[in-house]
Every structure is written in structure tokens, then in C-alpha cells.
Symmetry: C2
Subunit: 298 residues, 2 copies
């Protein structure tokens, strides 16, 4: 086979590929204003450094204040440095933590009271126009996929692709953030309100989703040498400015985001012969982009 | 860190891991009868041989008879041998085909009339008790996740994890099976009735879901050397008996499967503090197992 030139690749994409409605969403993104975006807050952003690159996690203290504070404390006492991913279960989660259970904790806590849901009062929540089968309402809160129940007055983060959660034992209050997992498959929404979700991966998912799957029960690696080491996890605020990932996340409370959602509900692309007229909360990408040099935010 | 012994791993899984309700489903599987399973039909099973191992695909001629017949013809004229995966888009699809567009087709066809949906008449369909937001009814048909609409009298396969589809151009009838993709992320149900689905991966998904993601538009690889070569694709019936993968798939029209679905709707495991009381058609695993030596089927 001859090599494929980049021109050929472009033609190939146009002619033969499976469109994803990207054109339309791309138009919306291209037409967006600086005010449609927000920079990541370095005080609640984590950088996980792997041999393969950096994974950026945005924490959600508005949903899990205790867990987020504890994870920040764990990170700052370098609890995670040198630990490893010891689980990768296909179509489910990758998970990291202290496989030996021997690492000491100094100022942080080992376990915390669960934060499965919070009061919906005072919480920003932009509801999707479509029904959700796992919750009375689904939508977005400050860039996070979330759900809400008016009858109980509660809200919670949803287990979508890239969601980060705190593993726990059988007791609801046995988690605390020492062991964390990331969703790498179809959304396991049955975990909603059963685990404290603490944030989501905003960059570097492909470094986690391609981890070799464990062959032991639940996707645990059978041999320690199969694990993927974590060089370090740092709070972005503690990293020199010139070494930070300059990212912006699309705001989810704007007309631009509403247009993006609509572009996913009904793909305007001619390729689509059948319009779903519907979108699942886990099928809406909350866009992330490199912060434009001109965007300032001094 | 000291090495983790297998005993420690087992304890670790029991104490610290995120349960998946596997215990309960495991009980159901353990108690299943031989009649709850069916062997794969070698005439509609494909073996894709990669350097990393074998991927087994079950084709669904009941949903896409023309495409399946054409794919079998392509396989038998060795159309796919030596081609490669040229696309891996995170949380979406991996895709293979003739990147150069130069491979000749002899007896098979390049394009076919679309088979996005079929008549629901005469089709086995076990409906899920739960609502689906993309279709009036969702359920299973002969081991495949599917949907149905009584008002139109049609049924179709759903884009769940592992679903295999025929890529196409903007014209509905421009696909044919020369280029195929597999879902590796959250179910892109908006593609339902927009692409002809031809089957699903029943073994070896982890070989596809971990393919390095492409960095070009839509996840296409930017350099040909990044592609993953396909050694060959064969129809199981054309492979020597002793080289076949002896697999069985759980039947989806039995009380045992209904019990499995129920175990996913409401996890009986004490770990679950909140029972979803619901399952998504793409969250129900249609179990696959090695064919027991005793199961006979002479």
C-alpha cells in the first residue's frame, strides 16, 4: 500500500468517514465569544503526570467539598506520587491508589462522610430539554454533567465518560479520595448517588482509556509490573505558571452552550438521515480548548 | 512498595474496590443451564487476527442480510487481509478499511442499499421493562441490543459498546461493509437508523478499545505507520475446527437472561445504597463464555 498523503487523508475524511456532526459543532465553537469560556481555576485543577503525558482533572468542590479538600490535602502531602493504576476494566473504569495499603497519611483523612448528593438550592443547573431515564432531570452545572430531583431537592454529578470518583468499601462513608477511578466506557449511571464523584478529566482521557486492561477479577492487574505508575499529582496552583496547561472550558450557562446542545439533539449535517431529536446528558461534550493568547484574563 | 501477592489482591478487591454487582450476576451465570446458552454459528462469525490477538465478531444477518452477505464475500476474497485500523477516536469509534482506496473488489460489492432498520414482524424481541429515550422500545433480539417502534413496525440494532457498523458517505446507500467501525465509548445512539449495524464484538474488545488514539481530525492517524495492521479476517466456518474460538453467547429469550437484566436494574449487593430501578439497553452485558467441554452440541 502506498503512503497516504495528508491531502488524501483530508479527502478520505470528507468522503469515507463517519461524520460526527463535528462540522456544525465546530461552527458553533468557531463563532463563540471569549465570554462563552472560563479558564480552569488552578486551585481546583489537578495535573497527573504519567510517563505518557499529563492528565488534567477539574475538581467539583460545589458537589463534594469535603472530598475535594481532602484530595487537595493528599496531593499536597504527595500521597499519590509513585502510586499506580492497578485496575483497568474494559468498558468501565481505570482506578489508582495505594495497592499495598502501606502509604501513610499525614494531614489528610483516610475516610470521609459520603457526598453522594447535595442540596439543589443555590446550585447553578441548566436543564437539558430531554428526559433522562436515571433521574427526573439531567443537565449541566458549572461545566459538569449532573442530575436533579425536585421532589427531594437534591442534585448530583452523573457518571459520564471521564467522571472521576472516590472508590469506597461497602460502608457509604468508607471512601475519602485515597483511591480514585475514572469512567472509560459507557456511562455506568447505576453508580450515581452510590459513589462520591469529585470531578472530571478535561484533558488526557486518551492516556487513561488506552491503558492495557487488567486480566484479573474486576480488571485488576494480576502482576504489579503491569500497573501504570503515576509520577506525581500536583495542584495546578502549585505548579510554575509557565508549566501549567492553559485551558478553557466552555461555560454551560450560555446561549452558545444551548446552541451546542441543540446541534447534538438534531444534527443538521446532511449525512444524518434520521434526527434523534434527543440527546443523552453523557453525549454532550463540554468543550475544552487551549486558552487563546489574546484572551487575557490578567 | 512491596509486591502485592495474589492473596492480597483478592483481599484488596473485596475490601477496597468498586463493586460492580458482579457477585449477583456471577451467581446467575453460575446457576445457568446449558440451554441458556447458544454456540456461535461459524457461518456468521468472523475472526479478525491482529498482532495483539483475535477479535471475534458475531454478525447479525437478521438485521442486515445484504451487508452481512457482502462482508462474508469480502472476507472470502481476502479483501481485508493486510488492511489496517486508520482511525481511533476517543470515546467514539475505531475504524478499519482500505485507507488508500486502491484495493480491488472481485465478487463482492462496493456499495449496497442501506439496512438501517427492518420490519419488526417475525423478529424475536425481548423488551426491557424500562423506558429508552432514543426509541419507543429497547430490548434484545437474538443476543443483540436492539430497539423497536410499533408505530412504524420497524426494529433496528442499537449503537452500544462493541457494536460493529458499516461506514458510509453522505448518501444513505454508499456503505457496503468495505469499511467498518466498532463503538469504543459511550453509546452514540444518535447514529441509530443512520448507519447499517452488522453485528457486535463478542470477544477481544480490549484489543480495540486500547488502540492508540489518532491525533488527526475525527481520530484518524496522521501517519500511516501509526495504523494497526490487520493480519487477516476469516469466517469461522473456514477455519480449522481446532483453531476456532469455542464460545457461547447467553440466550436473551430465557428466564435466566430476564434474571440477569433484573440483577442489573436493582443491584442486590449491599454495596449499593441507591438502587437505580432501571437499566439502559447498553448497560446490560450479553454474557459470552468459553464453551464448556461437556456442553456437547455434536
Amino acid at each position: 500500500m502506498s503512503r497516504l498523503s495528508s491531502v488524501t487523508v483530508a479527502a478520505f475524511i470528507a468522503v469515507l468517514s463517519l461524520p460526527v456532526g463535528a462540522q456544525t459543532m465546530a461552527d458553533i465553537l468557531a463563532a463563540s465569544k471569549p465570554s462563552d469560556w472560563r479558564p480552569l481555576d488552578p486551585q481546583r485543577t489537578l495535573y497527573m503526570e504519567l510517563d505518557s503525558g499529563r492528565v488534567v482533572i477539574e475538581l467539583a468542590p460545589q458537589f463534594a467539598p469535603r472530598h475535594v479538600a481532602n484530595i487537595l490535602a493528599l496531593v499536597r502531602e504527595r500521597y499519590f506520587d509513585g502510586l499506580a493504576f492497578m485496575r483497568a476494566q474494559d468498558n468501565y473504569v481505570v482506578q489508582w491508589g495505594d495497592a499495598d495499603g502501606k502509604r501513610e497519611i499525614h494531614t489528610a483523612k483516610k475516610t470521609l462522610k459520603a457526598e453522594f448528593a447535595r442540596s439543589a438550592q443555590g446550585l447553578a443547573f441548566v436543564r437539558l430539554p430531554d428526559a433522562d431515564t436515571f433521574a427526573p432531570q439531567a443537565g449541566f452545572s458549572d461545566g459538569f454533567a449532573a442530575a436533579r430531583d425536585s421532589s427531594t431537592g437534591t442534585a448530583w454529578l452523573t457518571h459520564c465518560y471521564g467522571a472521576v470518583g472516590a472508590g469506597r468499601d461497602a460502608d457509604a462513608d468508607s471512601g475519602g479520595g485515597t483511591e480514585l477511578y475514572v469512567v472509560i466506557g459507557h456511562s455506568p449511571r447505576h453508580l450515581d448517588r452510590n459513589v462520591t464523584l469529585v470531578g472530571r478529566v478535561v484533558k488526557g482521557m486518551e492516556l487513561l482509556s488506552t491503558l492495557r486492561r487488567g486480566t484479573g477479577a474486576l480488571g485488576f492487574y494480576e502482576k504489579p509490573e503491569e500497573r501504570t505508575p503515576i509520577r506525581s499529582i500536583r495542584v495546578a496552583a502549585d505548579v510554575a505558571e509557565n508549566e501549567r496547561s492553559q485551558l478553557e472550558v466552555m461555560r454551560t450557562d450560555t446561549p452558545t452552550f444551548a446552541a451546542l446542545v441543540e446541534s447534538r439533539r438534531n444534527r443538521s449535517d446532511d449525512w444524518f438521515k434520521y434526527k434523534a431529536g434527543h440527546v443523552d446528558v453523557c453525549n454532550v461534550p463540554v468543550a475544552v480548548r487551549a486558552r487563546p493568547a489574546t484572551s487575557g484574563n490578567p
